[in-house]
Subunit: 317 residues, 2 copies
């Protein structure tokens, strides 16, 4: 397989959980995302030569950094004695609920794989990224890593290894995402859920998850809309975000098909039938947060975009 | 609407839960099923003139009998002051895990609707049957009533009213069902489940339910097979059936796509890719039960058959 001396990869952000799909659904968005430039190094193993865009907050030690861990896991799995130096450019805020750590890990593993011509399968890359996710989040759920890697909208069937099932996406489906300028730590957010859920609520969620999957296959926006209800995580986590109920109601009143937390928040997503509808909904959500005296930023994206990819190498630095 | 002086309806048995779809999945089978003959009566309201096939075990009082309650609920909903007399012929054993009470209620409501030309919608009929199910089972889950009424394989999205979502079925898909000659009471079986489920198990079930729905839409028997796993109800209920693990293993070893309890048992179903495969699997399952010194009977059916229907009136009795 062809090898290079430098490889630059981009992995997109992703929306996970998607209302009724706690830990089993996620889709890639257009941007933002993280970039990793991998170059050959004379020193065996992975080194992190540069990280920017993180305001100095990410760990610089390879074994504590999700990108470093994912890349090292890939070298280990391949039995490679090569050396690589990684530059990580964070293109999105940390702890935003958009799969920031997963995007870093995906970009790093992919860049190293392509740099060295290791030819790892997507399953193998995912496994390596999950090693990094465990370091970053304390638990390993591929609902961000899988869409960031594979692209599209995926269902994850928990198994060992997890099975990634691509779902069809209705033409034109877009999402509005607003990120209030507060932080929610994924680990802390997970403890809010507890270890058990009421059987009645689990049944409702099974029905909605099934309804959403059926709605996607049928291209039935109304069924999708009715099914975009989270009775498990959202009720327990929404209190972390001032004004969540107001934002959600505003989105639905403005024509969103559904609205819930992106991952564990604080970002809030709304699915919409068109880009134009999503633009309107995004504005309305930003306005609703402003009424809570929360500043925020917004984005609009198609749902289920391309996953990780190699970018043209930037000019020599 | 045309009215008649007699109407005879047949409602089929059904397999509910279907491994990963606790309370949200069910499909109709060819037979057995229950028949109800409804005739006009001079006395206002519903009377139960005859019940056979139940070894005298079902309540004869209208207000305690699932067929009587469903029929009366329909008259009440229609504001009808007519009188009907029902003859119920149980075509299947009670407490078999095949939706016996639901089939009686569906046949009764449908027969009365057609007898009197009430023109009730399927949603309205289902609502009336659920009133009867609540009397029979202590709780109202339409995972048997809906397939018995609508036919096919349905997903139930819990809502008020529940939404019934038909699912596509791969050509040739058949089931083997064996009924060990023991009884399991639905109410008691439900208490085994408790009120809460571990979050981890719920997530696995969400993934499998989504995988099964996706597999049905994709006509992907391997995905269907991998997804036919129940980590919620089966582990808690299987102990009620001696040798369940042996029967299941024998079915899977003989080529079944999946095998689990039908409803709350004691019947055990196995999905198979063809009728021939289902015949083989049914024999193997009966044999495995025999090794536990349990007698049983067996049936083989297509999956997702026709729902309730009017039969030609039998000769005058």
């Amino acid at each position: 397989m062809k090898t290079n001396s430098v490889c630059r990869a981009f992995a997109p952000a992703s929306v996970s959980n998607v209302a009724c799909g706690f830990d089993v659904l996620g889709f890639a968005i257009e941007k933002p995302g993280d970039e990793v430039v991998a170059i050959r190094s004379p020193n065996q193993g992975v080194e992190l030569s540069k990280i920017d865009g993180d305001q100095g907050r990410l760990p610089r030690e390879v074994e504590r950094n999700t990108a470093g861990v994912a890349a090292q896991a890939l070298l280990d799995a391949a039995g490679s004695r090569e050396g690589v130096a990684l530059s990580l450019h964070k293109g999105m805020p940390l702890s935003s609920g958009l799969g920031s750590s997963a995007a870093s890990g995906v970009a790093a593993a992919y860049a190293v794989d392509r740099l060295l011509g290791l030819g790892a399968s997507q399953e193998e890359l995912l496994r390596c990224v999950m090693v990094g996710e465990k370091v970053a989040c304390g638990s390993a759920h591929p609902d961000n890593a899988a869409p960031s890697l594979y692209g599209g909208w995926v269902l994850i069937r928990p198994a060992d290894p997890p099975e990634i099932i691509p779902l069809p996406i209705p033409d034109g489906l877009c999402c509005a995402v607003v990120r209030p300028h507060i932080e929610v730590e994924t680990r802390a957010s997970r403890t809010l859920l507890g270890d058990a859920v009421p059987l009645r609520a689990a049944v409702v969620q099974w029905g909605n998850l099934g309804g959403l999957v059926a709605g996607l296959f049928r291209n039935d926006l109304e069924l999708i809309s009715r099914s975009l209800v989270d009775v498990i995580a959202e009720p327990r986590r929404a209190g972390q975000i001032p004004g969540f109920a107001r934002v959600k109601q505003a989105a639905l009143d403005s024509g969103a098909l559904g609205c819930s937390l992106s991952g564990s928040g604080p970002s809030i997503f709304a699915l919409c039938a068109s880009r134009q509808a999503a633009e309107t909904v995004a504005d309305v959500m930003v306005g609703a947060l402003a009424e809570e005296e929360l500043t925020s930023d917004r984005l609009v994206s198609a749902v289920g975009c391309e996953g990780v990819r190699v970018l043209p190498n930037s000019p020599a630095k």
